[in-house]
Amino acid sequence: MTNHWADIKNADVVLVMGGNPAEAHPCGFKWVIEAKVKNKARLIVVDPRFTRTAAVADQFAQLRPGTDIAFLGGVIRYLLENDAIQKEYVKAYTNASFLLREDYGFHDGLFTGYDEAKRSYDKTTWAYQLDKDGYAKVDPTLQDPHCVYQAMKRHYARYTPELVSRVSGVPAADFLAICKTIASTAAPNRVMTSLYALGWTQHTVGSQNIRTMACIQLLLGNMGLPGGGVNALRGHSNIQGLTDLGVMSHLLPGYLTLPTDQDPDLKTYLQKRTPKPLRPGQMNYWQNYPKFFVSLLKAWFGAEATKENDFRFDWLPKNDKTYDILAAFELMYQGKINGYFCQGFNPLASVPDKGKLTAALSKLKYLVVIDPLSTETSTFWKKHGEFNDVDSRAIQTEVFRLPSSCFAEEDGSLVSSSRVLQWHWKAADPPGEAKGDPEIMAEIFLALRALYQKEGGTFPDPIVKLPWPYRSPRAPAPDELAREFNGRALADIPEPKDKTKTLVKEGEQLATFVHLQADGSTACGCWIFCGSWTQNGNQMARRDTADPSGLGTTPGWAWSWPANRRILYNRASADPAGKPWDASRKYLFWTGKKWAGPDVPDIKPDAAPDQGMSPFIMNAEGVGKLFALGGMAEGPFPEHYEPMETPLSVNPFSPKSAGKTLSNPAVRVFKGDREKFGSPKDFPFVATTYRLTEHFHFWTKHTRIAAVLQPEAFVEIGEELAKLRGIRNGEFIVVRSKRGQIKVKALVTKRIHALTIEGQEVHTVGLPLHWGFEGLTKPGYLVNTLTPFVGDANIQTPEFKAFLVDVQKA
């Protein structure tokens, strides 16, 4: 989240799209209700079905799964055409005025630079015109035809209410009514918050769904303000912590990136990742990349890492390509991975195309499952009647199950969607032989190290020489790990302005990442967590509910990254002169000497407004990007592309390019998977998968009460579809995709109705995903038997939210 949970209460309009927080985030949803009750906020819900969030909404629209960009692009057009934008904000805080290269263009659904054979873009033309100092050229009047504002206006001119309606199925009148509510927040004293979750990410255009909203929020001047922002509601209590700590194949902690084959040494690596400012006077925060990175290497490799040996840069693995989850299982499927550690993850249930997953897991020599529960993955080899119909004798994979503790059985921190790191204390001992994950990993590491020490190997150094400084080497304690992430001084750090004074003494915990050094004198396991466990102790354990501003900031409650800042880009809550846009929602303001307010300023604390330092300090241009330059795989402006499986044969937004731009042109499809995409002829209905309040993923079916509350799998279909196929409420039906079929109970509802898409009737099929063949609920099929093995073009999040199926009476 750019903002945080409690801040939602400050909103005037809450737009829920690509998420269903009343069901998936019921506790956080209290703040939406708070906004409605205390702030007279209007709640808009746009979703493929009428959810429990919609049940308390003021405005609702049912859209076809996978048409969010069409809808939001239409909103952008509405805002631009009606001049319903926060002009002053847009001019000062976005790249609307920046001039684009003259050779940049967009034609018939494709941006300039497309290579059809590689299914990717040469992004050279997606760039600013630069002056001789390397700064971007701007036109503050926004009149230049090459400025981003004009390019944007041209790009979204096609997104008329009529076309939006034809593609998304939302009646034009409903669409316009929603536009009107959204547009009301262009006023400086009105703010909209956007709440989204996996309903946006799990598409082949997932990243662009979110970017479209970022553009809208920038146009409306809603970024950086209390009650505003683009807020990702994370799907798991600690999934924010997972990304923060870089537990993804291409990331390192703190959103640093893993070196690739193109980074032969530290210098090259750092050079590529340390940007130059694109406008004068900008903070350009990533210029500190070397400090963060070197401190990370020091945290990992300790005394082994010295300036002379590039801080053991060579000990890091170098990526030759991405190893996202789809790629990993594709390699397994091809027999190129033969061992797999599966920790706190149930891929058989949660990765698309269960059939492919079963085949892939069956090719492994060994599978290690570390989990508190008996997951479907751990028994993938076992026949469970029709639900997991495998031939156990044909599967030779050796499965090791290492029972681990669950969150309530260990100390530690969780990072919420608010970026708040909150410490928790163990409530009970884990049962039986279960151990904490750090203990399990440490024991495996120590055993491996002993083997390397005894037997040697190709490159034993990173393992044999890895420092292991824990009180109990077999069980690193959570507090030790937390201190390590925070970081400490390895030598006395001098005061920058007066080198005779000491800023931090050797051995002390660091108070802030501002103190990190690139010379190896500091160690920090995750720079954004720096400040969470200081010399003053565990900041994550703070429990002060005081909220002096009344805006829900509670700076003394736990600790939020970065630097305990609760709203990112909060400099933008004040106008260029440093005065709050809305005096009644005063957040950050310039006192004449410094920035003040209830939150930690997201700007250099003493940078006077007239210095021209812009609020979006992580960007080299200092402003928000309406035009994303080369940041995105499929284009600098979000463009509507159909899901990989779609009821349409032509993209109505680029009809001239025939099938070429029907779906995202930059999507990666593995060999063999394209053949497993179904056609609307055989699979006429659009399906989408989702969670319900009563369960958390595939976990809570193991608990009795949750099992009572939602005991058995079902599929939601509208009354029209039920009539079409002669299906009665509560009876078993079969749902088929090109990849497989499941038998499941039908729940016939008024909450999903047939849509008219390009003149044809399109039905939506809703698939809650919680059930499987393990646990206390009625045994059932895994819904991901049906879903396609393809992901977002940027980060490969699978397209669980839009695919084709057929339904029939069982």
């Binding site: 949803f29 209290k30 409605k36 919609a54 109970k745 729940l747 008024k750 909450r751």
Partner: protein
């Protein structure tokens, strides 16, 4: 529970007066349907606090689960799809005992002390005194109490009388994430409820109303209904009453009439016998007079 026993103001089938030395504040739970998201946290909390575990059922085509209240489910979210004024509404009712001021269950119950009413308004079952006749079920205008198949006792929401007795809110209220459930003095809850109506009317729910049915003397669970003119749409009776049948059947008057009848029959017999003596067959000689 000695102190709480002082708070009993009314008990079923009792011939003795209840203690009156101590009075507590009248309480109420407020269910603001306009804030409810049907998450079932209340159901979950109810099961947790009261150590209830209903059976894992089957999906029968509804979000409501378990399908009905039971001895193990004292509260239940009922989901109801309705089209009202051309607009789809997903009405979600937290069903359970409303703790009537004039409780039909208590009135109907023949077992002394099996149903009691506290001065704070809570109507509580004392299962140890319950004889399993189910009259309370017939007596309840909201169809709430459920007879257990296991022990032939009836069960329903206690409004967490154990928690409330020590100054806590009911478990469901504590668990509710959106504060759709509130708890406090009845006056405060009604005040809050009225305040909510302003917001709802402003949002287009012109008929929003507070549900505190007078037919049962008001309730200690009050609801804010966005469609206040249509309580049946939520599954609530429009005009719940204990009703004349029950009133007559279980009234003191009827009981008195019963006793009087019995005494009258007895007295008539005795008096008649005293006055007329037995009817005996006359001596043989008299038989001639017989026509």
């Amino acid at each position: 529970m000695a102190l709480m026993s002082l708070d009993v103001v009314n008990q079923s089938a009792s011939t003795s007066t209840t203690p009156q030395a101590r009075r507590t504040l009248e309480v109420a739970k407020l269910i603001d349907i306009s804030r409810c998201i049907g998450c079932k946290a209340c159901q979950s909390a109810c099961m947790e606090w009261n150590d209830l575990r209903d059976v894992v059922g089957v999906q029968e085509g509804f979000y409501t689960s378990p399908p009905d209240l039971s001895d193990q489910s004292w509260t239940l979210m009922r989901f109801n799809e309705q089209v009202i004024d051309g607009r789809l509404q997903w009405l979600i009712l937290k069903d359970g005992c409303l703790h009537c001021q004039d409780p039909g269950c208590l009135k109907a119950c023949p077992a002394p002390g099996a149903v009691i009413q506290h001065s704070n308004g809570i109507v509580d079952f004392q299962e140890t005194n319950c004889i399993g006749c189910g009259y309370c079920i017939a007596g309840c205008p909201f169809h709430i109490p459920r007879l257990s198949g296991k022990d032939s006792k009836v069960y329903k929401c206690t409004l967490c009388s154990d928690r409330v007795g020590v100054g806590l809110e009911p478990a469901c209220v504590k668990a509710c994430p959106t504060q759709a459930l509130g708890f406090g003095s009845k006056d405060d809850m009604l005040f809050q409820a009225e305040h909510r109506l302003d917001d709802l009317r402003e949002r287009g729910f012109a008929k929003a109303a507070v549900y505190d049915p007078k037919g049962v003397g008001g309730t200690h669970v009050v609801l804010v209904l966005p469609h206040g003119d249509r309580p049946e749409a939520y599954g609530l009776p429009a005009n719940p009453r204990v009703g004349p049948l029950l009133t007559v059947w279980r009234s003191g008057l009827a009981r008195a009439a019963g006793v009087v009848t019995m005494v009258a029959v007895l007295a008539a017999g005795i008096l008649h016998y005293m006055r007329r003596g037995p009817l005996e067959v006359p001596p043989e000689g008299d038989q001639g007079v017989k026509p």
